[in-house]
């Protein structure tokens, strides 16, 4: 197992935490937490096998959060000195005082066992920041060059993040963690007459190291070899006829539908209205816990922060709560929500299930998404078997456009690749496809989930929530799935053409 980088451990973590927490205690805070973070990122972009731009950046700082007389207060700083930590504690208390006149709900937190001086490192082999930029450019450039000539243009990008967090609170919990994630994307573009289209790799972002690009977890050369012919076929494909179709949806597409229609809909802060003015609320209101028929009986959804290589996986969350796994939908019924410590206490859950996260030292931790995943069926069908059950339908791979309303009812998604299904067999690609549905209608129309062999962990780096806006990485696992009678739009016709 890898160790936390020594240069992060060499920062004055405990010295600053002690100074800030003691000052918060002295000023009468009922609770205080100190968090010091370094988030390093490197992004490079190539176009037609040539480096277009790259940037190696980090974000370093610390935050103090207090509860003073039942009101939150938060302040962050960038100078890593005990004096600055004390100042931030004083500012956090002052923020609580200025805010007190508009606070009508005294803040209390669900209890959590003390985790004294514990460490955690995510599962990866090769730190991407140990790999020289030129090697990365050479690898992506080589892959791009292999496509050029068979397509008109190729864009390639690689995002890499190393997140290091130190957390300490007045209860005595002290955690130190490090995790790595990366997301490679290649997109091929081609024009045929007046028709332009593109096709992107389906490789998901992962909580792995650079080994992901060299053969562990994904076969990039094999996927890239197929793309030019697939794109050529897509350009010549017929436009879909709008109507009702059965759908077999690949994990590379369905992860995003899970994210939007289950992941966000089962955040308790949303369901209780705390995000009402921005991200929105949820149709899955708290009074329906245990009774809402979310989907068909084959629908089982788990939230977890423990899945290996998951983007939301941690040892402990940003409120010092241990990462856990928990049911959200069981046999099609809503049975759980994602929680932070405040929401957990507010609704009598006893303990948070560890879903607090802040994306930077300058931001407040809030309830963010666990790896919310649809479970496969033990001994369930293969993707080919699912397709064989469809007389007239569409097989959808890869994500592209997505949109869902503020209560998570009405959604519309497109994809990267669409295949017509006729009499149980694939019958060539289609174009201009979007599927549109109401969340519960959609999940209730799910007739079958595939077996474990079809299960893939998809995800994103950039799930947005909250004000000020924060982004969070999250994975969603799913098997291949079969839905009956879903509304398909023709996107060209939707545009009035």
């Amino acid at each position: 197992m890898r160790q936390i980088d020594p240069d992060f451990l060499a920062l004055p973590l405990r010295r600053l935490a002690d100074a800030a927490l003691q000052r918060a205690r002295d000023l009468g805070a009922e609770h205080a937490a100190f968090r010091l973070e370094r988030v390093r990122s490197e992004t490079l972009r190539l176009f037609d096998a040539r480096l277009e731009g790259s940037m190696d950046a980090d974000d370093l700082g610390f935050a103090v959060r207090v509860i003073k007389d039942g009101t939150w207060g938060f302040a962050s700083g960038v100078e890593l000195t005990p004096e600055a930590a004390v100042r931030a504690a004083e500012q956090a208390v002052r923020v609580a005082e200025v805010s007190a006149p508009i606070n009508r709900e005294p803040i209390e937190l669900a209890p959590e066992p003390v985790h004294a001086d514990v460490t955690w490192v995510s599962a990866y082999d090769v730190d991407p920041f140990d790999v020289p930029l030129r090697d990365k450019v050479e690898l992506l450039g080589g892959w791009s060059a292999g496509l050029l000539g068979r397509v008109d243009h190729v864009s390639a990008s690689l995002m890499q993040v190393k997140e290091q967090k130190f957390y300490a609170d007045t209860a005595g919990t002290v955690t130190t963690q490090q995790r790595v994630r990366l997301h490679p994307v290649l997109t091929a573009m081609r024009t045929d007459g007046d028709r332009f289209d593109d096709m992107r790799t389906l490789a998901p972002p992962v909580g792995r190291g650079f080994e992901y690009l060299t053969g562990t977890g994904w076969d990039f050369p094999a996927e890239l070899a197929e793309i030019p012919d697939l794109l050529t076929e897509k350009l010549k494909a017929p436009s879909v006829e709008a109507g009702s179709y059965d759908l077999v949806i690949d994990p590379s597409n369905l992860w995003l539908t899970i994210h939007e229609s289950i992941g966000h809909a089962t955040e308790l802060d949303r369901a209780l209205g705390y995000e009402a003015a921005y991200a929105g609320t949820s149709f899955a209101t708290f009074d329906q816990l245990g009774t809402l028929k979310y989907g068909s009986p084959v629908m089982n959804v788990v939230g977890d922060r423990t899945a290996e290589h998951g983007l939301s996986t941690v040892g402990w969350d940003d409120e010092g709560v241990e990462g856990q796994s928990f049911d959200i939908v069981r046999d099609g019924v809503l049975v759980g929500y994602q929680l932070d410590r405040r929401m957990a206490l507010l609704k009598g859950f006893g303990r948070s299930n560890g879903c607090a996260f802040a994306d930077s030292p300058g931001h407040v931790p809030m309830q963010r998404m666990a790896n919310v995943s649809l479970q496969p069926a033990e001994g369930g069908p293969s993707t080919e078997e699912l397709i064989s059950r469809v007389e007239r339908g569409i097989y959808i791979l890869g994500d592209k456009s997505w949109s869902i309303d503020m209560q998570r009812y009405n959604f519309q998604f497109t994809g990267q690749r669409f295949y017509k299904i006729e009499n149980g067999r694939l019958a060539g690609q289609l174009r201009d496809v979007a599927y549109q549905a109401t969340t519960t209608d959609f999940w209730r129309s799910m007739e079958a989930v595939g077996g474990p062999g079809t299960y893939v962990l998809g995800g994103a780096f950039n799930c947005g929530k909250g004000q000020p806006g924060q982004v969070a990485p999250v994975s969603h696992g799913t098997p291949s799935t079969l839905f009956r009678g879903v509304r398909i739009l023709n996107t060209v016709q939707e545009g009035g053409k």
Binding site: A57, Q91, V98, H153, G362
Partner: protein
């Protein structure tokens, strides 16, 4: 070892002196924020935050190395600069390489940075508390967010340029709901310092809209005459602006690509004399008057850092006038170098009516509050999908007669420009969807005779 940071001006000068590259650009950004967030007539989160970011862009030959670090102390500066210099030496030649802009001086370089603090909300917070009390008493719940950000940006180059800009950015989003949460209304304002924010007046407009919503009318999906208020127009036009990169257009990838090659610059998009433009000096929405680029990409070049920005028309007289681009892409496309600017203004014909006058002049149509979850469906037509939110009202014979259900729309803002039947009077507005990224807009309300409401959304 010193644990304290230097002033931004000292950091820029020292970093430039330390660089052994052929050329160097140093950017220091000092940020400070204060915010309050609330829901259901009570505070939910709050905070103050500081940030300090140093970006060193080293240039060796035509190679570029970019290293950006937070909270850099003076004793760490040499390592950051050396890393950028080494990255430049290792880099492939950059196709956008060219001379850095000359040695002008922009802004008050030497003045100390004055961060924002929670005190900027000291008067606003009690006023908000009074509105909470008033709302509670009359059965309304208020939700929203108030934020003030101050960013001081310093750009120094080895060519002698020193540019500084202090950007205040304030916003208030206010959302009122009926006690049973079945009715909802939204408004938002952009502000530079919160001194001009009248929360009670804003709440009063929301109370009026909640009253409008007491009569509910179900309307099916379809195409309807629709009035989009300035905030909704802002969200659509921002997306259009973000999609107006010259290189992608020239490569055939966007709605501004000309079939067969080239761009659509010069082509008529609207029969009305619509103007869409940016101007760093536009009163009330002033923004950074020089290029700021941390890394090169399709629509920005690190070699343009510090380049002065002036008023730029994107659409003029209804015709596509310019696309966003760098000096490098301007050479490739044969068009003017027109880099991105951080504000956006749209105007129509002289004498445009106010939103109230447009409502009064409507026989039957829909009036939107705002749009939400706008995403691109097809880049080549710029077909966007999204939702209506927080109030869609039915207008009959010049008056709002009730609230209708929400819809999912599928529309292209470029196509809409060709179908406008009216452009109203322009006013400063806060975009609902994109105000995390873009707050400085002046927009009109518009009337579209056949806006495509693709499906009904159950959300309310």
């Amino acid at each position: 070892m010193s644990e304290r940071m230097g002033t931004p001006q000292e950091t820029v000068e020292r970093a430039l002196a330390l660089s052994r590259a052929d050329d160097c650009v140093v950017i220091v950004e000092e940020g400070s924020t204060a915010n309050l967030r609330f829901a259901g007539n009570t505070l939910t989160t709050n905070g103050v935050a500081r940030s300090s970011q140093l970006t060193v862009i080293s240039i060796v030959g035509q190679g570029v190395g970019v290293v950006s670090r937070a909270a850099v102390r003076p004793d760490q500066l040499a390592d950051v600069v050396a890393a950028a210099d080494q990255a430049a030496r290792d880099a492939q030649p950059s196709e956008d390489a060219r001379s850095l802009p000359g040695g002008d001086s922009l802004g008050d370089w030497n003045r100390a940075v004055e961060p924002t603090t929670i005190e900027i909300l000291r008067d606003f917070a009690p006023a908000l508390g009074e509105s909470f009390a008033a709302a509670e008493a009359s059965g309304r719940k208020l939700y929203g967010f108030a934020e003030h950000i101050l960013t001081s940006t310093f750009v120094g180059t080895s060519s002698g340029l020193r540019a500084r800009h202090d950007q205040p950015t304030g916003r208030l989003e206010l959302n009122a709901k009926s006690a049973d949460l079945s009715r909802s209304a939204w408004t938002g304002v952009a502000t530079r310092d919160f001194s001009d924010v009248d929360v009670a007046a804003l709440d009063a407009t929301l109370a009026r809209r909640l009253d409008w919503a007491k009569r509910r009318v179900d309307v099916p999906a379809g195409r309807y005459e629709t009035i989009l208020p300035p905030t909704a127009v802002a969200d659509l036009m921002i997306y259009l602006y973000w999609s107006s990169g010259a290189r992608d257009a020239a490569d055939g990838r966007t709605v501004f690509s000309k079939p067969g090659g080239g761009t659509r610059v010069g082509e008529r998009l609207s029969d009305l004399p619509v103007r869409l433009y940016s101007d760093p000096a536009h009163p009330g929405i002033e923004c950074t008057p020089f290029v700021l680029a941390h890394a090169s990409g399709r629509e920005q070049s690190v070699f343009d850092n510090g380049l002065g920005l002036g008023a730029t028309d994107w659409i003029s007289g209804g015709r596509l006038a310019n696309l966003v681009q760098t000096r490098h892409s301007a050479e490739l496309t044969g068009l003017a170098a027109t880099p991105s600017i951080d504000n956006l203004i749209m105007t129509g014909p002289d004498g445009g009516r106010s939103l109230e006058e447009m409502i009064a002049g409507t026989e039957r149509g829909l009036l939107l509050t705002c749009l939400w979850y706008i995403r691109e469906v097809d880049p080549q037509s710029l077909l966007l999908t999204g939702l209506t939110r927080d109030g869609v009202y039915l207008v009959e014979n010049g008056e709002v007669v009730g609230e209708v259900n929400n819809f999912r729309f599928n529309e292209s803002p470029v196509d809409l420009l060709g179908r406008l039947s009216e452009v109203g009077r322009s006013e400063q507005t806060l975009p609902r969807e994109w105000n995390d990224y873009f707050t400085r807009t002046v927009m009109p309300a518009i009337r579209v005779p056949d806006f495509n409401m693709s499906t009904v959304s159950q959300a309310n």
